[in-house]
Symmetry: D2
Subunit: 293 residues, 4 copies
């Protein structure tokens, strides 16, 4: 297949390489041209604009930072929508707000174009290994058509529903699960620490018994290690995610008290000067409130 890929960041880069490795004919675009250049050496072509990438593709993936960059790359000047062929599909993998997902869905529909959301779970190493979890939503026959391409990212393609927004919301939901699990563990760690028990001991019991999911192991480990400065995702990203999740609650009239508490923790982390540290640092707000230093 002829595939276009727009956005070669920490996630997009390895995802695009997986497509190339699977033998697809690839054309890439990145705002910072240097990252795209790597691909030329590997046999991909480099488009000068998202429109040019789209112009010759059956499928165009986009994997960008946020709402604004996605909007610009899609409907801006020389955007994907300008070049997308009649039978081609735009597959957006970015973690974006439902509002932006709605704009993509409706904007493409107005132009008679086909659009699908395919969000992924996993970090860059999983992307390199083709071990991401993919949550796709859109018309069923389009998802059938995309299946082989999506499987380059990971063996597990979860189909969430017919409306692309359903995949976006699933993604926001699973990210929220991370933040709220951190708060949960933070309350437990702080209380046990004040009672004289090393949180590492509680972490060992958790992960050695019924709380042994990756979400517990990975984030719990960072928490007991106070590893706030390892290269991970910052507080500001957490705030963006939780904000989008709460906005979704606003759209559908769903109260989300656990999300509200996490938002407040992250805001407090910003005020404490921790905006750029790993979001597990929210634990420090729980510790400070408890008189732990």
């Amino acid at each position: 297949m002829k595939i276009g890929f727009v956005g070669l960041g920490a996630m997009g880069h390895p995802m695009a390489r997986r497509l190339l490795a699977a033998g697809h004919q690839l054309c890439v675009y990145n705002r910072t041209a240097a990252k795209a250049a790597d691909f030329a050496a590997l046999g991909a072509t480099v488009g000068e604009t998202p429109a040019m990438v789209a112009h010759d593709a059956d499928i165009v993936f986009s994997m960008l930072l946020d709402d604004a960059t996605t909007e610009q790359a899609t409907f801006g000047k020389n955007g994907i929508a300008e070049g997308l062929l009649p039978n081609a599909v735009h597959v957006c993998c970015s973690t974006i707000s439902l509002e932006q997902a709605r704009r993509l869905r409706d904007g493409h529909a107005e132009r008679g174009q086909t659009y699908v959301s395919a969000n992924v779970l996993g970090r860059p190493p999983a992307a390199e290994a083709g071990a991401l979890f993919v949550m796709a939503a859109g018309k069923s026959d389009v998802l059938d058509y995309l299946e082989p391409a999506l499987q380059c990212f990971g063996p597990h393609i979860f189909r969430v529903g017919d409306d692309p927004l359903q995949a976006n919301l699933a993604k926001l939901s699973l990210n929220f699960m991370i933040y709220s699990t951190i708060e949960q563990m933070a309350e437990v760690f702080a209380l046990n620490e004040k009672a004289g028990t090393d949180p590492r001991k509680i972490f060992e019991i958790m992960t050695g018994s019924f709380y042994n999911a990756p979400v517990h192991k990975n984030y719990g480990k960072l928490m007991v290690d106070h590893a706030y400065d390892t290269p991970g995702a910052p507080v500001t990203l957490g705030l963006k995610d939780v904000g989008m999740f709460m906005d979704a609650g606003g759209d559908y009239g769903v109260p989300l008290p656990y999300a509200a508490i996490v938002r407040d923790r992250l805001l407090s982390a910003v005020s404490a000067g921790d905006a750029d540290r790993d979001f597990v640092v929210l634990q420090e707000r729980v510790r400070q409130e408890s008189g732990l230093t």
Copy 2:
């Protein structure tokens, strides 16, 4: 070893059988005598009071319903403390408040007696299979001495600390993790359901990706099945657990906002007439707030 066991309820019964099966000489007591009678046929002796059970034992386990029954069986008339031999140990496995655990610790200490908390994680089938997780806290040499007996309950003995209360708090903490994971998933399920996605689909993605711990699988399954009337633990038990966890927060000056939210859900469940249903029914409060019926 000569072992006494006080309290042969849903958990105590299989735990005591494990000790017997391991070849220990067992003397049991249960307030309702019928349950103890089963044990006579298996070669155990039956004591008429907790004191009599203690009178001839190296180790006396107690596994009772709550603070009041534990206090009565320990320091009440004909209680364990009356019969406990100078070199014997009382090991309390009940899920009790820190206040009650303090009374046990201090009450035995005043009498020059040895006391240890050994709480367990797991349901009756795990107790039968000797697959419980044990969290023990008390003096190190006493725990060494107890190790072979505790291993009858499960292969994993986590040592939480020197102070018996540390095990009790660990137990309350891990129970809280159940309730707060239910709230977490309930918010996610409700929001996705309002957006048109079957919660079963989200459950499948969760448990198929990074949220695949027993806590997610077991309770999430009950939630998506709306299985509120299966034989499980009722809302009232959840309220008791969360109350004891919040009281511990009160003791140590630790704010616990997630616990407070769960408490409110459970109170609301009681007001909705669901006091005796499985505590996953708290999900219905989240659903009602969201306009789902």
Copy 3:
């Protein structure tokens, strides 16, 4: 003075009349022309666009519904900014987000124009009576200049600070005080009702003792009367207000747990079908959670 007034809604209409009654030369604009027509009969002139209203005025007030209408009337085609004279002042009285207030402040500054925020507290009858409370923020000498005009709205001009945004935030804050007082009273009323006490009795005690501010009296009365369908402000307006307040918390890194709870109540009210009822209906969510019907 020559005064322009843009926006003749429920609040703007009586405010503009106060200016006219005080002898100011008034030119008005309203999107729906009929409302402006009333003013012609009273001796005001009617501008065809906000720009035309501004073109001949020393001071231009705007009192519009929200961010979008304010933005459009100010910087849109034929907006205030197009007509504002070099020495004139735009005074925005609308309840808007800090983001929009920032756009007004900065947009006028870029054009070398003078801008001030002057928010008001009070309902239409108070506006008619010139009994509003005015919170003004902007350069001190400009506020001196505006003082006589502002006093047409009410005798009390509170000067909040030099930055116009400070008045907008004060307004959002005082509105939040309304919603959170309702939640406060709702919790008290529900608990006492379940204990067998008529909330009217509690309301009588409150307002007869230390909780006798207008915020208690006015909203408490609606609550005990279950007066959810009197012409007041709807749930949707409450949601907008609380949302803007929480966004301000986001801007400045301030956790606002009470605001988050109110937001959730209002969202739940929307899901219950009460979007258009008076926002005191949020009390019903507290009642339902408590098993009151």
Copy 4:
């Protein structure tokens, strides 16, 4: 009338003096005898025990610190219940838990004795001036009988209901209104302070407009003055009050999210070392979370 008064603390002392000044024949008791001695000089008699005070009285008031002291003075050895005459009434004015109020009501009923709760609002200076607000609950004819005595405390006797507990809950409710108003104002003050506005300015606007109840004026003033060390009521008292209010919510199945937040603030204040400072210091937790120092 012959009146007994048990408990001559900061509130009981001036309340008893009011009764004496009104010409009632008074017999007093206080655990610390010195305080009672003052009364002898004023013409009161001093009883050696609560029972002795009760033995010769038509009405016995008790105004004690908490549940335990009230229980002891009522049903303990030489307690009020031992001496209470057949036609006499015990009127408890203490702020106690509903559980303790239930014990008083039921314990007196078992003994065939008459019991009424009469809680008061106001601080010691108001007690001296006979300007307290009284909330009484009990049988109607008993309240009629008590009316003249109660009016010594304040002109306003609110009758809450037939069940004494209703007065106790009203009292706990109105105290909760204090704490939640402090949290409300604290969020507003912190946010405006971060936006550059002196909280004093916001306080001035609040109390100059619709938020001018004593609860706003008195506590708001302490807050903007950071007057945490004036002789007032400490954090520990706030915790006790909020705990009793939340326990009442537990009794009646009423979720109380605002109360839970205040409890957490007060717990955090304890952990910050502020247990003995005035409870308005809870504001500092809001400020710290917001990065204000």
